[in-house]
């Protein structure tokens, strides 16, 4: 684990940190290079969010529900990134013929996935600014002043759990061909629903509790809403409890990602599916 070996080559830790930085760099720099991707990542989720806010307005709901929908819409961009930018990423790499390069590199695969996750969080955060502008600027949704430090803490724990899940999905999809695409498609709106992105999580009752134990998005959104909106968030569990559960989920998903990556890499090599395209 030394920073450098006697022959001048980087040690394991330095090598993996470099790999993480290298994979993250692509996303950080690439996030501003393709205007059409900025459109799709930033503008389109904001359009859906605006529709849900206007639905509450049309129903004559209290204004606090509009805030709930805006916060949910902002967090939806992260779930989309977890699915398509993490879960399906190795599928994209396989289709473009680059996946094998990851496997001949001397670094850990987890360091590459970590770089992808950090870059994804950065990229999505820049996109989320547009949703914030639409929600709180264009649509005129308002929130009272709130404490920033607890919000950042909840956000960091939520992102760790969420992107840990993304890393697990990425390893699972190593084995998949076209199914990866369809699974991502199938997981988008159902997770929006089960995570209560556009309504209080507790409105789902027991179903919400089960879903919260599998996908960390619901708990994260609920905790962030409670920090920002207070009692108007109609929270499900106390914030401390939700953060504790999220922290456990983060550890579980990171361990699971590492284990499943090893197992499925070996399996897909045995079955000859690691570099199989157009399937």
């Amino acid at each position: 684990m030394s920073p450098a070996r006697a022959d001048g080559r980087p040690g394991d830790l330095a090598l993996n940190l470099r790999a993480t930085w290298g994979r993250m760099y692509v996303r950080v720099v690439g996030s501003a290079r393709e205007p059409t991707w900025i459109m799709s990542d930033a503008v389109f989720p904001a359009l859906s969010m605006a529709s849900f806010v206007l639905l509450y307005r049309a129903l004559g709901a209290p204004r606090s529900f509009e805030s709930l929908a805006v916060l949910g819409g902002i967090m939806a961009t992260y779930w989309i990134n977890v699915l398509w930018g993490m879960g399906a990423q190795l599928y994209w790499e396989k289709q473009s013929g680059q996946l094998q390069l990851y496997f001949i590199a001397p670094c850990s695969r987890m360091s590459i996935l970590t770089g992808m996750a950090l870059g994804g969080i950065f990229m999505t955060t820049t996109r989320a600014i547009f949703s914030i502008a639409v929600g709180f600027g264009l649509l005129g949704v308002r929130v009272a002043p709130f404490a920033l430090a607890p919000l950042l803490l909840v956000f960091v724990v939520t992102m760790t759990a969420l992107y840990g899940l993304g890393m697990t999905l990425a390893s699972l999809f190593l084995l998949y061909g076209r199914e990866a695409w369809h699974v991502c498609n199938a997981l988008q709106e159902p997770v929006f629903f089960l995570s209560g992105l556009y309504f209080p999580l507790r409105a789902l009752g027991a179903l919400g509790a089960v879903a919260a134990g599998i996908v960390p998005l619901g708990l994260g959104v609920d905790a962030m809403r409670q920090v920002i909106l207070g009692p108007a968030a109609r929270g499900w569990l106390p914030v401390r409890v939700e953060v504790a559960i999220l922290a456990v989920l983060a550890v579980v998903f990171l361990i699971l990602a590492r284990a499943s990556l090893r197992y499925l890499e070996a399996l897909s090599k045995r079955e000859g599916r690691l570099t199989q395209r157009w399937q």
């Binding site: 991707w37 389109f44 359009l47 709901a61």
Partner: protein
């Protein structure tokens, strides 16, 4: 063979191919579950949003109209947006668009045939959403008050608008390699917002309302609500008589269809000139 028989054979072939591409990655049960899960989840999001505010909202009775329109919006998502996806799949993923162009089928016939499978999927999603609403969520209307003839006429006019605008979206996808995915998804989200699928267009800024009223889908959703459940959603559009509403739908559909066919031609020519018909950049 006569010309109609040739057309029918080509449509059948394109539909069969579409079915294989859409469904052959999974067994039938998995495919049915996969097809049902997204539209059902969207409908349930709306239903729980409504339930969450049912006791405190001031105008909850308007929700049925939004739910019904959202069910019909499946045609826009599946058929219209799906025609843009056909281009992405054929060019970027399977790299077979050039073979379609070199075959005698013709792109309009091919897209039409491929969209027929998506039409069936959308129809099943519609039935699923409405049945769920009726049986589980208690979202019901008076069947005796349904005005079938104008409802059927509205439905057909809307479908024509969807298919023709689908041609335009496909043309747009031709000139935007790689970015076509974004355009496809954006069209669905933009139409949800612009056409007042789940809220009345009265809530949009005045200038945006004018744009909304140029789109046939705005009139389509309003007509479907009015003729199926007995009332529309928009105060502004409620001032139109039934005849005026249908006329607006028909005229906007006709204009939109002409513009879409013309637009497809322009975009396809540009794609040919710029060498983008066969430019795979996604994978």
């Amino acid at each position: 063979m006569s010309r109609p028989a040739i057309l029918a054979a080509r449509l059948r072939t394109a539909a069969w191919l579409g079915w294989q591409i859409e469904a052959n990655w999974a067994d039938p049960f998995t495919f049915i579950v996969y097809s049902a899960v997204r539209p059902l989840a969207t409908a349930l999001i709306l239903a729980v949003m409504y339930r969450a505010v049912a006791g405190i909202a001031s105008s909850g009775q308007a929700f049925l109209g939004f739910y019904v329109a959202n069910a019909f919006h499946e045609y826009v998502i599946r058929v219209l947006v799906g025609m843009g996806w056909v281009i992405v799949e054929e060019r970027e993923e399977f790299e077979t668009l050039k073979f379609v162009y070199t075959s005698p089928i013709g792109m309009f016939t091919y897209l039409w045939g491929r969209s027929s499978v998506k039409f069936v999927q959308a129809s099943l999603s519609l039935l699923l959403i409405l049945t769920t609403g009726w049986l589980i969520l208690g979202l019901r209307w008076d069947w005796g008050a349904v005005r079938w003839l104008p409802l059927l006429l509205s439905f057909v006019l809307g479908l024509i608008a969807i298919v023709y605008f689908g041609f335009f979206v496909a043309g747009w996808a031709l000139v935007l390699p790689r970015a076509a995915i974004s355009v496809n998804e954006g069209v669905a989200a933009a139409l949800t917002l612009l056409c007042g699928v789940i809220f009345p267009i009265d809530l949009l800024p005045r200038a945006v309302q004018v744009v909304a009223m140029l789109l046939p889908f705005t009139w389509w959703y309003e007509a479907l609500r009015r003729f199926l459940i007995g009332h529309g959603a928009s105060a502004r559009l409620s001032s139109f008589s039934d005849g005026a509403l249908l006329a607006a739908l028909a005229v906007s559909t006709a204009l939109f269809s002409c513009v879409s066919v013309w637009g497809y031609g322009v975009l396809e020519r540009r794609a040919r000139q710029n060498g983008k018909l066969d430019q795979a950049r996604l994978f």
